[in-house]
Symmetry: C2
């Protein structure tokens, strides 16, 4: 029986292998240096007998989200959700029409709202991201992501996830890699839509998060979102979150901004083969072109580090055949 | 090709299924109410077409560790590690022979050391669990768990993991369940040995944890353990950690003390089939007998809740044929 099983399994594995070879795994990537570097790395770390072979359970990949897996201009998309919530809540708060930062948000002037600084942003986040159960919050995010559209592209926000990066996630998955999101964005904000967009389940979506409170309502336990930041998953918060949530150092990491520098540095400082990638926003026509001087997604020190260490920098304009998941 | 593949896969799946049926999956469990409840639940939630069928990705199980997966008397085993570290560090701290709680620890008087209260325990934890890199700490835990022995049983501590519970973990795994540890014990203390003991990888080991600091030593990044508690994974901390780390409500949970009550309550308050189990320490001859009055692993309110809600309470003496993983 065992012999028959082994034989059958071998045939199945061979067939799977052959069919994986047959199709182009990264059709939205032009045949440029980034595509070649990715494929060379994945093949070197997954081919049995390769000197750089990495066992399946160590094949951990971590991805930033804003600017790496989906767009982030003119502001992080989570802020559009905040605006949406402020508008929905405004009828219960008539005073908002005369006090900042609500007045600017309700007037659609995000620049002015952002000018209220950290205090204003924190207040907006508290009001819209706390005071309800985790289930109610997830339902609000789900409803928003199904309906809301980006002000300039008119696409759904989940349609502004990057097709080449979704292909990369699938390619890694097909080669035994386990991918995590490690994002400065809100963990509970990402989970309701990211599983479908990226095929990454909630337990592998790590982000900034607030305090939770365990309480009882009508005799049933609920988890309530409290208006207090518990953890900011950006800069050095990223390697810390990786250790806390995953407990292993990634061998493959992708980001796009200085907020990802520590994650890329931590990843590549490990022994053996390591891959660090940066999405460089160079396409002002199809997406946005920005780096060192941008307020959102500043890419300055990490760009220098990439050049020093030979990390892979994706020239979006030259290397991506398509940009968005929605055509 | 597709048809051939499908046919081969069907044969393989059938063979796997038949071989799973052939052997007793829980040989260390007597044919008692707990074993029957576990098997009935797992079959009902995994048999295709069952009205209680749960899809594979929702088959989340969470387990407490101390007193549920391994023993916890006369004190939580992590305290033996603390004692071991204090002894190892003592030559560099000659003053410890005259100040508490170090004097009692060095004299082997754990009762007196515990009498120093929360302040003393916190100081002992800080001194032994912080001030080094995560890699150095993991190496210390690994060395201790390979060498240290329990004062009364003389077994290795990992040998005092419960064989019936290890069988349960394997049985759940064979039925598509994904198990997590959700423990009041230290996350970084469990990870170095728990993967081998329970076949649960680090990313599924959740516990109390301290603050980390991202720093550079000799030009290389390091994660340093800081002497500050970040999260206590006990009581209501357990459902909070489950949401934060897993993002889904378990369908199956096991604990042994009042510290697990909220996790069991949160698990069973979900819709559809849910299982809550409690290890009741009733075997004073082979293990320890304790519940409501015990200082370690107090089982009082959770025992009442189990009776009210019909949770499964494992009578260790009557239902477990063997206790420890080490014979």
């Amino acid at each position: 029986m065992n012999k028959l099983l082994q034989c059958l399994m071998a045939v199945v594995m061979l067939a799977v292998h052959v069919s994986a070879w047959a199709a182009d795994p990264l059709p939205s990537w032009n045949d440029g240096p980034s595509r070649r570097a990715i494929i060379a790395f994945v093949e070197a770390t997954t081919r049995p007998g390769s000197p750089d072979f990495v066992p399946v359970d160590a094949r951990i990949a971590t991805f930033d989200n804003d600017g790496t897996l989906w767009a982030e201009q003119p502001v992080y998309f989570q802020l559009f959700f905040v605006v949406d919530r402020v508008r929905a809540m405004a009828p219960q708060h008539p005073e908002w029409t005369s006090i900042e930062p609500y007045r600017s948000v309700l007037a659609g002037d995000l620049e002015a709202a952002l000018a209220s600084g950290e205090k204003g942003i924190t207040e907006l986040m508290s009001v819209t991201h706390a005071g309800m159960s985790i289930d109610d919050f997830a339902a609000q995010v789900r409803a928003w992501s199904a309906r809301a559209r980006h002000p300039t592209t008119q696409r759904r926000f989940t349609g502004m996830t990057y097709l080449p990066m979704r292909e990369l996630l699938a390619y890694l998955r097909a080669h035994g890699y386990t991918s995590y999101i490690v994002s400065g964005g809100g963990q509970e904000f990402m989970r309701p839509w990211a599983e479908q967009a990226y095929a990454i389940p909630p337990e592998r979506i790590i982000g900034s998060h607030g305090e939770l409170e365990y309480a009882h309502r009508d005799g049933a336990p609920v988890l309530l979102k409290r208006p207090k930041v518990a953890f900011v998953d950006d800069h050095s918060g990223k390697p810390i979150a990786i250790q806390r949530f995953i407990g292993r150092r990634p061998v493959f990491a992708f980001g796009n901004s200085d907020g990802d520098l520590e994650m890329l540095e931590w990843t590549t400082a490990g022994d053996g083969p390591r891959f660090a990638g940066i999405v460089h926003h160079t396409d002002g026509a199809r997406e946005w072109a920005y780096d060192r001087a941008s307020r959102i997604g500043t890419l300055d020190k990490a760009l220098d580090a990439a050049r020093t260490h030979g990390w892979t920098v994706v020239d979006m304009k030259a290397e991506w055949r398509s940009i968005y998941a929605d055509k």
